[in-house]
Subunit: 193 residues, 2 copies
DNA sequence: TTTATTTTGTAATGATCGGTACAAAATTAT
DNA sequence: ATAATTTTGTACCGATCATTACAAAATAAA
């Protein structure tokens, strides 16, 4: 194929942009921020992403969805998926301070975009619902297996976990501290037993 | 006192501005938005609030803190404060859709301002910690009274409730639905028994 | 009635916003 | 070599941003 060679990989631009969006959110991130972070100038930027800032944000969100999907595949392969989920929550405590302050880009987006951009908000809500469904299915399976004793409906427990996930998204910023978070996570996970 | 009479009450400007900030957040709210919402032009606006947009936001947050303080006073007067807190959570489910989508302006601010404005974020975190402390004290009192059976440390349960509050802040947007929220709230409150 | 004082409305300010225009650069196909 | 094609860097666009300047309006004090 003819033409000047690409020096800014699409995937790389999105990865770098995601980091900025994750920290500052959509509105507070400027094109100048993105250009600084990615190295790409306006020419390359708009040549690659005709949809501009919004398209890059959507793709950054989409990449995060893929990470959740990858975890879902792990769950499906496991016969004790709830233990994987619990360990996923436990691993949060071990993250460094910057990760705590960043939180979850999907949950952040729901909060930020509610009255700003209907589509972006609905998309983020959809992803959280998929994660919730993933929790629910894992719980249902372990209830059927008999490895999870509680009789509470899996749908309620799934919503309990996604609520916890979103609550943790703020608690981590209040207490970006391993020990505090570890205690709280263990306490909340004890409900699933 | 001499001078042209004030037609825009400070308190009223803040109340009107709070509504906009609550919906759109700090960054996405423009001065033009605030002027439209309050009726006050740039002249009155900057004459009243020398600190501009940021000062008005701080005062809108401060007003919300006062609402929590008022509730705290109610708690101190009560000898079953935990029941008041539970009813406070229960009342959330009954709110209308717009209230669900708005969420909690303090929790929203923590999420939005983390990498944007250190002071505004720290202030919002402080308010959440005060609410948490309010929860903790109520729990401790009812444990001493014997009206609350669980032996879990009040500090852990206080953090559990503030985590729930922040989680609810997103769950409400995912499911702005009375019945869904009612079920989840009852389930999570059942932990405190 | 005049003077002092304060608020108001409007018109500007410079800065930054997201996005576009376009020519130079760099490649492949002919 | 030359032509065709694509990316890149830069200059620029109008719109909007938060804020300021300032004169007219409206009051109370003198």
């Amino acid at each position: 194929m003819r033409g000047r060679p690409t020096i800014y990989e699409d995937a790389n631009i999105i990865k770098k942009a995601q980091e900025v969006f994750w920290q500052k959110g959509y509105s507070a991130t400027s094109l100048s921020d993105l250009q600084k972070a990615t190295g790409a100038g306006a020419g390359s930027f708009y040549n690659t992403f005709k949809g501009g800032k919004k398209e890059v944000f959507q793709k950054a969100i989409e990449e995060r969805r893929l990470a959740f999907d990858a975890f879902k595949i792990e769950l499906n392969k496991s016969d004790s998926p709830l233990e994987l989920i619990k360990n996923f929550f436990r691993s949060i405590a071990a993250a460094d301070e910057n990760e705590h302050l960043k939180g979850c880009i999907i949950a952040n987006t729901v909060v930020e975009m509610t009255f700003i951009d209907e589509k972006l908000e609905a998309n983020a809500v959809q992803i959280l619902k998929e994660v919730e469904e993933m929790f629910t299915q894992a719980i249902k399976l372990e209830q059927v297996n008999g490895t999870l004793k509680t009789k509470t409906a899996p749908e309620i427990l799934g919503k309990y976990l996604i609520t916890f996930w979103c609550g943790l998204n703020t608690l981590r910023r209040m207490y970006p501290d391993k020990n505090v978070l570890k205690n709280q996570i263990e306490m909340q996970l004890a409900v699933l037993s």
